[in-house]
């Protein structure tokens, strides 16, 4: 992410704008509109959108989080009641646990896998376009469609995964589990499925791998480094800012998991609610139980968790991430 800047540009150069030239708003002026006015006019759609679709909702939900708000009646102030309720709400902790477990499995393993695949796809071999397309395409498949596909693959009796397990391990007496029908196997199934859509991270990693200066590898070759040492000591430090960015985005995404478990397992999250995620419970409170106050408190907790995790990731990576001058 290079941020070129153009501060040197055109100071002292006064373009001759004829009187009456049109300015962004189409007003007639004798002088050029000041740059700051023009600048703000250009970015004004973002400012309006931010105020109405981000700032306002965030502040509203902060207020609602201190109220009892059944949607059809006006909100009634209850102080910290909603936050206190969370502590003793078993479903809140269930979703918290499920979501944390999912993030703790899907993010690190997904990152390692994406890095490995990116490294493979950065080798000079024939057929790269094919390999890259095969890896990238699944990440574009709409979640509804991928939910349907994996529902079919994970099917306990007829699903391709269990057919394969039975064919290979059947003689040893191992049978494939009833993935989505068994509370123990729901989480592994969802994590496994998440690996299918690492394609976008892979593409970003490939681009960053190509930015690593070749001279560094030549030096490493002279030192007689093995490919693995080279990757750990040269490649990884050089691409670490990109990895950090991707890890943070992956954490944020995993806290928003909703569509896949909702479609595959239903709004309850399957047997034992093993696939019941934080956002699903937030959705339930807001739109099914008409408890907008509690849902808003959950939204704020989610926001703080995401900010906290991002901050922690930054801190933890301070020594590991190498920023080029």
């Amino acid at each position: 992410m290079s941020t070129q800047d153009g501060h040197t540009h055109m100071h002292g150069l006064k373009p001759a704008i004829p009187p009456g030239a049109k300015t962004p708003r189409g007003r007639r002026t004798d002088r050029r509109t000041p740059e700051w006015v023009t600048g703000l006019l250009f970015v004004s759609p973002w400012i309006v959108g931010f105020l109405s679709f981000m700032a306002a909702p965030i502040l509203m939900s902060l207020y609602y989080s201190f109220t009892d708000y059944p949607l059809l009646e006006p909100p009634a102030w209850i102080g910290l009641g909603n936050y206190a309720e969370m502590f003793t709400d078993p479903l809140f902790w269930k979703t918290m646990g499920n979501t944390t477990l999912y993030a703790a499995l899907a993010v690190p393993f997904g990152t390692i896998l994406a890095l490995f695949v990116a490294w493979l796809l950065n080798q000079s071999v024939k057929g790269l376009v094919f390999f890259r397309s095969a890896v990238f395409l699944p990440s574009l498949v709409p979640l509804v469609a991928s939910s349907m596909i994996w529902l079919w693959l994970f099917n306990g009796e007829l699903g391709l995964i269990n057919v394969a397990i039975d064919a290979v391990l059947g003689p040893l007496g191992v049978r494939g589990p009833n993935w989505l029908g068994d509370s123990t196997w729901i989480m592994p199934a969802l994590v496994l499925m998440s690996f299918w859509s690492i394609g976008q991270a892979v593409v970003i990693y490939i681009a960053s791998l190509q930015d690593v200066p070749k001279a560094l590898y030549e030096a490493a070759d002279l030192d007689g480094m093995s490919p693995l040492t080279k990757f750990m000591n040269v490649t990884l430090p050089m691409i670490s800012p990109v990895v950090l960015f991707n890890v943070i985005m992956a954490i944020i995404t995993s806290w928003q998991v909703f569509a896949v478990p909702y479609i595959m397992l239903g709004s309850e999250g399957g047997p034992d609610r093993a696939g019941f995620f934080y956002t699903m419970y937030l959705y339930d409170n807001a739109f099914r139980f008409q408890r907008m106050g509690y849902a808003s408190a959950m939204a704020w907790v989610q926001l703080l968790i995401i900010l906290g995790l991002t901050g922690l990731t930054f801190l933890a990576s301070k020594k590991l991430v190498h920023y080029r001058a």
């Binding site: 700051w36 600048g39 079919w152 907008m292 849902a295």
Partner: protein, 300 residues
């Protein structure tokens, strides 16, 4: 990077084998979806399953049965197919999705380009600080906003209309603004300055120089937002309240929520139809993108 010269033949073979294996694993779910979508129902229930529909010559007939469906003269269903299925109105949901996506993509491209221009080409105090702030908003997840947004849209009387899905697109999105700003920065400033000397305002420079030169980047934004709209599940789930307004993402889920007994071949045929446009767009834009950058002569 590692060019293979130092890796030896064995190393290269190993890399190849792993690449083939991984690509197959990634492609398999899509291929299995396609194969299942072409099978008659009995064959989807066979254990062990066959790799392809058997005999392969039934494929054309299966396309008609599973994808379109067969009705008799009175409109009674002989073979339930996606396009004519009475339960899930695929053509209607497709129309809804296209309408909403078209509006949202248009709004997103125009607004993100204007905003990105303000951050890339106009000098004003606080610009860089504000840009960092814009980037920081990428971290705010939609679930945090959805409750109050519902209330705002309810006050506006927009619940049950398409407006909550496309109006916000007219105010840009951090990621797209970022993408376009980075692209605009690569366009040589000499072009703007020449235009300025000729009496062009920022508005003129934006439309006459930046937009024509940025077609590849603009089409990437359009592609990304189209895929986002095509994919979006939570938004339509919250803001739409009538089956007639459903988008494909919601409509497809109706198959699943009918409590089982949906033939897998029908489900997979519907999935193929939803995945297909994305696949086609991917292959088309891959070319546009590469060509665009190559032919616009930006890197002289």
């Amino acid at each position: 990077m590692a060019r293979g010269t130092d890796q030896g033949v064995l190393g290269r073979i190993a890399v190849y084998a792993v690449l083939v294996g991984i690509s197959l694993l990634f492609a398999l779910p899509l291929l299995w979806m396609l194969s299942t979508s072409l099978k008659p129902t009995e064959q989807t229930l066979a254990n062990p399953p066959t790799l392809l529909p058997e005999p392969i010559s039934i494929v054309p007939q299966q396309v008609v049965r599973n994808y379109i469906g067969e009705l008799d003269a009175d409109g009674e269903v002989i073979h339930r197919g996606v396009w004519t299925d009475p339960v899930v109105d695929f053509p209607l949901y497709l129309r809804n999705t296209l309408l909403v996506s078209f509006l949202a993509v248009g709004g997103m491209v125009i607004s993100s380009a204007l905003i990105a221009y303000g951050f890339a080409r106009v000098q004003w105090r606080g610009r860089n600080a504000m840009f960092v702030f814009v980037l920081a908003t990428m971290m705010i997840p939609f679930p945090v906003l959805m409750g109050p947004m519902f209330i705002i849209f309810r006050e506006l009387g927009w619940i049950g209309t398409f407006r909550p899905l496309w109006v916000p697109a007219f105010f840009g999105t951090a990621f797209n603004i970022f993408l376009l700003r980075q692209f605009f920065l690569t366009i040589p400033r000499e072009l703007d300055e020449a235009a300025r000397i000729d009496g062009c305002s920022h508005w003129g420079i934006f439309w006459r120089i930046i937009v024509p030169l940025s077609k590849p980047a603009l089409s990437v934004v359009a592609l990304f937002h189209f895929i986002f709209m095509w994919n979006d599940f939570l938004g339509p789930l919250i803001f739409l309240n009538h089956r007639d307004q459903f988008t494909l993402a919601l409509g497809l889920q109706l198959y699943q929520s009918q409590a089982g007994n949906v033939p897998w071949n029908l489900l997979m045929a519907a999935s193929v139809l939803v995945v297909l446009p994305v696949v086609v767009l991917f292959f088309l834009t891959q070319r546009t993108f590469v060509e665009g950058i190559a032919t616009q002569g930006l890197k002289e």
